[in-house]
Amino acid sequence: MCADLSGIEPVIYKSGINVPYHWWAGDTASAFLTALRDRQTITAIKCGSCGMVFVPPRKTCPQCFTPNTQWLEVGPLGTVTAFTVARKQLAAIKDTVPVVFALVKLDGASTSMLHKLLLQNPSLAKAGMRVKPRFAQDRTGTILDIQGFEPA
């Protein structure tokens, strides 16, 4: 700063950005989300070239650069491939900590899906544990139609 401005009180301007969005989820995600909502099933999509089964599903295979076409159901059982127990109430965390975040590889899938683990004792979370989804009572077609995964 210039010397002749030293000692000036720094003014803090408080503001924020709050812009509503209405994202079209895309037909692939729409199929996935409506299956969660209406059938309580987790659906995946398979690449016809390399056979990779993607959860959450996406329209094209990133490896083969071709459209994915074949829908199938995966799980409901799956295996935890990575986890963490969040202890500090970070601003992004909506539930009260401790919250267990995890990657879950559903049976039949090639990729893991990001979600939460519902455990009485979060310290018992571990990689390799078998889990199953618990669906929400009120389902609105979002990823939170799955409340989380609990021990199978």
Binding site: M1, P10, I12, S15, G16, I17, Y21, W23, A25, G26, A29, F32, L33, F54, V55, P56, P62, T81, A82, F83, T84, V85, A86, R87, K88, L90, A91, A92, I93, K94, D95, V99, F101, A102, L103, K105, T111, S112, M113, L114, H115, K116, A127, T142, I143, L144
Partner: protein, 381 residues
């Protein structure tokens, strides 16, 4: 590749809060320090790249806030989002196109002015993931657990990274958190997300950095010893965390191999004297060391414990103190480049690595290190 060199750099001190400086004030300071360092004026600059993130800055087209401070008027200026090393890569590419001469690259952010957890939460897919409530820290914690399980690395080894880097920062006048701490201090600091304690995580920081790059014919305009760009490469991994093996960093390995090959480096662990890597979290420093080929897979923790990466060790890593000692997101990788320049010029004071002729720098952006940019910088041609 035509020979290009870094002929100047400027850094603001990295601080927890800079209430007295706007984005433009910080960039102005860094740019003028860089010009002074090189001994040139803004009139000698033909090409400007700014690096920023709209979400962090809270404004659309965030580069506009720093255009005047970067001297862009009536010049060709372009903006990069991501890490400062990506901006430098773009700047270098524009020089190599043959269209531009001396190039200024800037990068800035002020983590103190917003809420990093909310901003990094928005990096998750809005349809499939964002509502779950993860952010950069909890994502990194997933990675840390996965990597520790795969390699057998321990919390004590992670803590040693924090002890080393905060200790190194005592020699760095730009660092935010120079500290003399112990492994016990790290392990007893607040648990944020298992296995990452507070002192395993880099702090929220403010800062700006600028560098000047010139092609060989223009390098002599600089008054300091040029630092040559021996090799550089950039590589991205899958976006979705569940598509990756979080215990591995194949994109970094690939970027490093290509950068080494360009620089004619056959055995990085032997031919590189120091490294400045993106230690946003303690485990990441060890992961990146291995992916960069500076340690055998699964051995970085043990090598660290033996002192190999300490100042005075065979291959000091983050002699500057790294990001654990101050992490201005976006600018962070450009700071790593500037720190490498200090080493290669012999200006690093008490943190000077004896005989540093070649330093590797890694910049990174994206959750758990999705995209990596690797630079091999050299003191001679």
């Amino acid at each position: 590749m035509d020979r290009c060199a870094i002929i100047g750099f400027g850094m603001t001190a990295i601080e927890a809060r800079k209430p007295g400086s706007t984005f433009a004030d910080m960039v102005w300071e860094a740019v003028n320090k860089a010009l002074d360092d090189a001994g040139i004026t803004i009139k000698d600059v033909e090409n400007v790249i700014t690096t920023s993130n709209d979400f962090f800055d809270g404004r659309t087209i965030s580069c506009m806030a720093v255009g005047d401070a970067s001297g862009v008027r009536e010049k060709n200026c372009s903006c990069t989002e991501g890490d400062g090393t990506f901006g430098a890569f773009y700047g270098l590419s524009r020089i190599l196109s043959g269209a531009y001469g001396t190039t200024l690259v800037t990068a800035h952010s002020k983590g103190s002015e917003s809420v990093s957890s909310l901003i990094t939460n928005a990096a998750f897919d809005p349809i499939y993931e964002r509502a779950l409530g993860l952010d950069a820290i909890t994502a990194a914690a997933l990675q840390a657990n996965a990597w520790m399980k795969a390699t057998g690395a321990t919390s004590e080894q992670l803590a040693m990274v924090s002890v080393k880097n905060h200790g190194n920062a005592r020699h760095n006048p730009y660092a935010q958190l120079p500290m003399e701490i112990t492994v016990k201090d790290v392990l007893e600091s607040e648990m944020i997300a298992d296995p990452l304690h507070k002192l395993d995580c880099s702090p929220v920081s403010d800062g700006a950095c600028a560098i000047l790059i010139a092609r060989e014919g223009l390098v002599k305009k600089g008054r300091k010893k040029p630092v040559w760009i021996g090799g550089v490469n950039f590589c991205s991994d899958a976006y979705f965390l569940g598509d990756r093996d979080l215990a591995k960093a194949p994109a970094l390995t690939k970027a490093a191999q290509k950068a080494y090959s360009m620089a004619g480096v056959a055995n990085p662990a032997k031919e590189i004297q120091a490294a400045e890597v993106y230690d946003a979290f303690t485990h990441q420093e060890l992961m990146w060391i291995e992916a960069l080929g500076l340690a055998e897979a699964g051995q970085a923790g043990a090598d660290l414990a033996k002192g190999r990466f300490a100042l005075g060790g065979a291959l000091p890593v983050n002699p500057s103190g790294g990001l654990l000692s101050g992490h201005p997101v976006i600018a962070a990788g450009l700071y790593r480049m500037a720190e490498a320049v200090r080493q290669l010029r012999g200006e690093a004071g008490a943190a000077q690595v004896d005989g540093a002729k070649r330093v590797v720098v890694q910049g990174m952006n994206g959750l758990c290190g999705q995209s990596h940019c690797v630079w091999v910088l050299e003191s001679g041609k």
